[in-house]
């Protein structure tokens, strides 16, 4: 049976989403995308530096990938909505990752403003993927607001600290009837596998790949880990026990 994740009417067979920030050179991004086998790639929108080099990240992204511009830089719902309009006008489709941040130290998202922006943009037919701190009531509000998925953080952006919010994410997976995509904080492939084993629908990784010594190799490692974790979830891990339970028969030999 095909294992497909459907978001905004698109069928995804790969569950690793890739962020494109912080890479040591843009020129390696095509190889990173190839090794990660990702189908969804995030980008940001910024003012052009009139006196400097003009960067166009889109030149490095495979045309078959779904672009998911983020609203980074937004501090309010209103600013996030403005950025979403700009992204759509630029011809990048209608997927948008809502990211509203007022906290410069931990970069934690403003859940309240994020819900407001989600509500507005979902009504305008955007496929809205909000980045939030994991909280059941917030996630329920996002469902009502018309989100296409919920993207809880595992740890602060760029921290590489793994699933510090694991129990709260588990509750979202259990209770929320939308794809749950763990975004932010995943630092190692084992942590991506851990998220997928517990039933996350996908993970979004940027820093862990971009800042690895060899991002191209690390992209492949994350691809395998996400696949392994997903397969383990579908296979249904056996129960944990406190005491030992022999794997070989204990009778019928020597005594």
């Amino acid at each position: 049976m095909r294992d497909v994740l459907t978001i905004g009417g698109k069928e995804l067979t790969n569950r690793l989403f890739l962020g494109t920030g912080k890479f040591p050179a843009k020129s390696i991004i095509p190889k990173v995308i190839k090794n990660s086998e990702t189908q969804v790639v995030t980008v940001a929108i910024r003012r052009v530096d009139l006196n400097g080099e003009q960067e166009n990240i889109l030149n490095y992204i495979d045309k078959d990938c779904i672009l998911m511009p983020n609203t980074s830089g937004a501090r309010t719902a209103e600013e996030a909505v403005r950025i979403a309009h700009i992204a759509r006008a630029a011809g990048c489709g209608n997927w948008i990752k809502i990211e509203v941040i007022n906290d410069n130290k931990y970069l934690l998202p403003d859940n309240y403003e994020t819900i407001k922006a989600t509500e507005i943009l979902a009504k305008e037919d955007f496929v809205v993927l909000p980045y939030v701190s994991p909280d059941l009531m917030v996630a329920k509000a996002l469902v009502n607001a018309g989100a296409a998925a919920v993207m809880p953080l595992g740890a602060p952006i760029g921290s590489n600290r793994g699933l510090k919010t694991k129990e709260l994410i588990r509750i979202l997976i259990d209770e929320i009837d939308l794809p749950i995509i763990v975004d932010a904080g995943i630092g190692k492939p084992s942590q991506a596998a851990e998220a997928m084993e517990m039933g996350a629908d996908a993970v979004l990784v940027n820093t862990a790949i971009a800042t690895a010594d060899d991002p191209i190799k690390m992209a492949a490692a994350f691809n395998f880990a996400v696949k392994a974790g997903r397969l383990a979830y579908l296979a249904g891990p056996g129960a944990e026990k406190i005491h030992g339970e022999a794997s070989s028969p204990l009778t019928g030999f020597l005594r």
Binding site: T20, G21, K22, T42, R46, V48, L50, Q54, N56, C92
Partner: protein, 66 residues
């Protein structure tokens, strides 16, 4: 004539369309998104939009991000 581009005041010596201005700054137009006085301009509108005193222009493009 003064206009504001990406939040900074810019002095224009002559009448320019948005297409002219982009050329004068050696920007590649393909990937740009232009907001003109808070309104997103379609690409085909760039060449017939003449900049005037106190206009506000945002010239944006896509960069790496997570």
């Amino acid at each position: 004539m003064q206009i504001k581009v990406n939040g900074q005041l810019v002095e224009l010596a002559e009448m320019l369309t948005i297409t002219d201005f982009i050329k004068s700054k050696n920007l590649k137009p393909d990937s740009l998104v232009i907001q003109y006085n808070y309104k997103i301009l379609k690409r085909e509108e760039w060449s017939n939009t003449i900049l005037k005193e106190n206009d506000e222009l945002e010239i944006l493009n896509f960069v790496g991000g997570g």
